[in-house]
């Protein structure tokens, strides 16, 4: 099993780097070409969420992205924000999306989760095993060559 691990300080500018690396490893792992746009978007959303949580809690800790390709292509995005923060993952109904009372942050969080849930069939959001934080785990099938 090959693993690529990337850690970055929680700054928006690094999310693009994580997307680029994630797609490059996915392509090498054998993820179908037609799925790569979804891989790019999902990794970006998971990293954006992690960066936002670290900034919200004033955490300088690194965000980690771990990519592995055994029988499938699995990506784990790990943050270190307090666990209760991850509870805010809810999909918003259409009539609430343009509601005046909805804050920009709440809208972005809701839309981001909708994209993750919509584009990743195999998605798990769970507490990390050690310490505080959340792991977003996404899995895509690979084609063996």
């Amino acid at each position: 099993m090959a693993t690529v691990r990337l850690s970055f300080s929680p700054a928006p500018v690094h999310v693009r780097t994580a997307r680029l690396v994630g797609v490059a490893v996915a392509r090498r792992a054998g993820v179908a070409e037609e799925l790569l746009d979804e891989v790019r978007l999902a990794i970006g959303e998971a990293c954006t969420r992690a960066v936002a949580l670290h900034n919200q809690y004033g955490l300088a800790d690194l965000v980690t992205v771990e990519m592995s390709d055994s029988d499938s292509y699995a990506v784990r995005v790990i943050d270190h924000a307090p666990l209760e923060a991850s509870v805010g993952l809810t999909k918003l109904p259409p009539d609430e999306l343009a509601d005046e009372s909805l804050t920009d942050d709440a809208l972005t969080t809701g839309v981001g989760f909708a994209l993750l849930a919509g584009f990743v069939d195999d998605l798990v959001v769970r507490p990390v095993e050690d310490g505080s934080g959340t792991e977003v785990r996404m899995v895509w099938p690979v084609q063996r060559r």
Binding site: R16, D104, V111, G118
Partner: protein
């Protein structure tokens, strides 16, 4: 690819052409430009996404924010988008039920006799 922004006027509409990647890093620049346009008096704003290669939740949030701002100012807001990957993003988030989405700038700025929103 970096974000690119260009503004032009078409039939009393302000058309903002967006290109490149709209994500958590670049979306604040898009937000600033849209706020500038509304503050400068633009009331019928069309955002042309034809040149956009990547759009995430942060970018979508900026577009919703601009639409709300224009609604308060009694203005109109619409999107031009015909790329299927982007349209899928609007469908999955249900934002295709929030934004008027047109297939071309001509359709978006027409006098009502042309083709309507694609969704």
């Amino acid at each position: 690819m970096e974000l690119s922004l260009a503004t032009r006027t078409v039939a009393e509409h302000t058309v903002l052409e967006v290109g490149g990647e709209v994500d958590v890093y670049t979306a604040p620049r898009l937000r600033e430009r849209l706020v500038e346009l509304v503050d400068a008096g633009a009331r019928n704003v069309i955002v042309d996404l034809a040149g956009v290669e990547f759009l995430d939740s942060t970018g979508l949030g900026v577009l919703v924010g601009a639409m709300k701002r224009l609604r308060v100012a009694n203005g109109t807001f619409g999107l031009v988008c015909s790329k299927e990957p982007l349209l899928k993003i609007f469908r999955i988030t249900a934002l295709d039920q929030v934004f008027p989405i047109y297939s071309s700038v001509e359709a978006a700025t027409g006098d009502g006799t042309g083709s309507g929103p694609t969704s």
